[in-house]
Each structure stands twice: as C-alpha cells, then as structure tokens.
C-alpha cells in the first residue's frame, strides 16, 4: 500500500466545532489533493497543492481551508463544522509509482459525521 496516511480514520463531532483532518505522505511528492467522497457520487476535488506554500481551491465549494508548510504534510481544516460536511474525505498525492507511472496515491480516508 501507498505511504500516505490520514488521521483520524473516523470522527463524530457536534455542529460548530473546529476540526483538522491530517494527511501526510513519505514519498516526497510535491502535488497533494483533498477529495470529498459521497456514496454513489464522483470524487469531488476540494483543494490541491503543487508544493510548499502553494494551495488552490478545487471545483467543489467548501468552507474548508488547507495549508502546505511542509512537503509531507497537507492538513484540512473546517472552522465550523455543519451536518452538510458529513462525508468521507480522501487525501492523495501524485508521483511516480513502482510501475514507473506518474499516478495518484490515495490515503485511507477520514469518515466525518457532524451531528
């Protein structure tokens, strides 16, 4: 499996709480991504980064923010969680894999429930 990690794996919190979803990778990849995944729906890109101090919003409107202070770390923060934020959040990085392809590697995901 890929060397990309997400914590926590599961999180249940109340409305209005501030939360940070952690993502780290040990592959030295410059490009990193955050996706939102709901059952039966496409993966929606919410943020991405091309390297340290580079962050961009994706095509899904979101009240979240990201930071990229270190290459290996790309945390996602929700300042005030709402029930509409309930979803699975996938972190990914892009780089060369064993097959020699430039591909995306995905973390295991964080399943967030906001009550």
């Amino acid at each position: 499996e890929a060397d990309i990690y997400q914590t926590p794996r599961y999180l249940v919190i109340g409305t209005g709480k501030k939360i940070t979803l952690e993502c780290s990778q040990t592959m030295g990849h410059d490009k990193m991504y955050w996706y939102q995944q709901d059952p039966g729906m496409e993966l929606h890109l919410i943020h991405y980064s091309y390297g340290v101090n580079s962050t961009e919003k994706g095509d899904l409107s979101s009240e979240s923010t990201v930071s990229r202070i270190r290459t290996e770390h790309f945390p996602l923060t929700l300042e005030s969680a709402r029930p509409s934020h309930t979803s699975q959040y996938l972190c990914a990085s892009r780089g060369f894999g064993r097959g020699g392809y430039n591909e995306q590697f995905f973390g295991p995901g964080t399943r967030l429930t906001v009550l």
Partner: protein, 115 residues
C-alpha cells in the same frame, strides 16, 4: 469540461468468471490518460490500470484488461477469473495531458464477487 459516466452502479459476478465494467467519457482533448481505480471496503483506493490515449494497444495488467475505443470514447474494464478480493468500488477516471494533471472521476461501480 470533461465528464466521465459509469452507467452500472452495481455489478455482481461469480468467482472465476469474467465481468466487464463500462465507462464512457466526453472530451474535446486529443491527448489524455484514462484510469481504473479500485477501492476495497474500508481500504485505500489503488490504481488498477491506465491507458494513454495515443496508444492503440489496449492495456493489460494480469487479470485486468481494458477495451479502449477512442472514437466511441469508451473505456471498459474486463476482470478475468474473478476473485473474492476483487470485491470493491471501481472508479473510472480521465485526465488530460498537461495543465493541472487533476483527474475527473466517474461515480463508481460497486462490484461484488460471489463464492
């Protein structure tokens, strides 16, 4: 903008049999990549197979092969000798060459392999 359509929300197959998952896409690009990703239950999404649009030969990876029809914009995945471990969500993805290298995903097909 590109779109990716997976018309089969759910599929099932008996162990050792062959199953084909369909994917169509819409694009005006000529140079691009197509992917199939596998997401087993509660596990990380991994790349199964990729196809470069400029290659006429269909990609194969062990029991996994694709039928790439560029003119028809079709990219189906064939799994031969299905195994219980093939049970997963399968996502088709499109990525144009150059630019941001951010793929567009379909909604996924849930495949269940029965013993």
């Amino acid at each position: 903008a590109q779109t990716v359509t997976q018309s089969q929300p759910e599929m099932s197959v008996q162990e050792a049999e062959t199953v084909t998952l369909s994917c169509t896409y819409d694009t005006s690009e000529n140079n691009y990549y197509l992917f199939w990703y596998k997401q087993p239950p509660s596990r990380q999404m991994i790349l199964v197979i990729r196809q470069e649009a400029y290659k006429q030969q269909n990609a194969t990876e062990n029991r996994f092969s694709v039928n790439f029809q560029k003119a028809a914009k079709s990219f189906s995945l064939k799994i031969s000798d299905s195994q219980l471990g093939d049970t997963a969500m399968y996502f088709c993805a499109f990525m144009k060459e150059g630019g941001s290298y951010i793929p567009t995903f379909g909604r996924g097909t849930s495949l269940i392999v029965h013993p």
